[in-house]
Symmetry: C3
Subunit: 134 residues, 3 copies
């Protein structure tokens, strides 16, 4: 199990973590297998999509905010005021599982691994990477 | 492969299965690896989110019902009248993959594994747990 | 790592790939473990749900199009005009992880593995299958 952390600077944002995950895969000396990218937070998520056009990240955040508007009579808002962030986190999920070959992640030309912040800014968000293979 | 089952008592609800999955991890004697938590049903799901404030589970179910209203001209409703449950199940997915270390799941402080019922009550809902590791 | 490809013929559609994935599991001679089904595209997805009543696939596509309407002021539409497809792909995710036993996928009676096209038709869409086990 490997782990790294990052800071977020906005209430919602996406941060490309492909390079850091690929570094862990390369250093492992494993040649092939499965790679779990997991964030241990209930108001964040990990997705795979395009980051070449950064607008896509903004479009995804916009679309999620339309589907899950903030403060729409959620009960948890009386406790911690961040219910919408929990709902988005549950929808997208805390992880993605990928495969790797010859020490590198197998990703499509337009795919990047993106950490999604839904309740920032936060000084420390953790990402755990677990590899299983040979 | 291990398996356990549970009953649901409402049309929609979330049930915390973290303890039962952790019991399987502990009994396996494996020290580290990947843990798949999978439900073999097309009107249920498995997610990871907060269960300390139970309101969050209700907020997630409420929000999903706003996004996927029941009986909104779905074709499958003429066959089995539970199309919205299938759509929610497809959105959240039948599984989560986690990692474990020293015989225990690696979860964030606010994370729990929740079984989601979208077409209950049901007498028997199954959860399959598969571990791969050392 | 195994791989196969398929063609899509409509702008949006779901294609059942359960049989092809099961063929790869069977040929691997592995008896038990994890099976990752991954599509390396940012405008497609892989889900598990019912395909016995084909209407469910249409209901899921309809419901997603209501949640993520096309051309709703997305920035990426000015670049490539397919932002809604990226958003749907991010929501459902590029993969599902399953388990297998005795050389066959463990699926519920009503579960099938469906490839989801959101930006078709496309001549070649790839599906990668990675098995880890014994």
């Amino acid at each position: 199990m490997s782990e790294f952390s990052l800071s977020t600077t906005r209430s919602e944002e996406m941060i490309d973590i492909t390079g850091r995950v690929n570094g862990i895969v390369r250093q492992s000396k494993l040649k092939a297998g499965l790679c779990l990218v997991y964030t241990p937070h209930a108001t964040a998520a990990v997705i795979v999509n395009e980051n070449w056009d950064r607008n896509i990240c903004e479009d995804i955040l916009l679309s999620l905010s339309r589907m899950v508007p903030k403060h729409a009579d959620y009960k948890h808002d009386k406790v911690d005021n961040n219910a919408a962030a929990h709902i988005k986190s549950a929808m997208l999920g805390p992880s993605e599982t990928l495969t790797f070959k010859d020490g590198a992640l197998v990703l499509g030309k337009w795919q990047a691994i993106m950490f999604c912040e839904f309740d920032g800014p936060r000084q420390e968000r953790r990402i755990i990477v677990e590899l299983v293979g040979k």
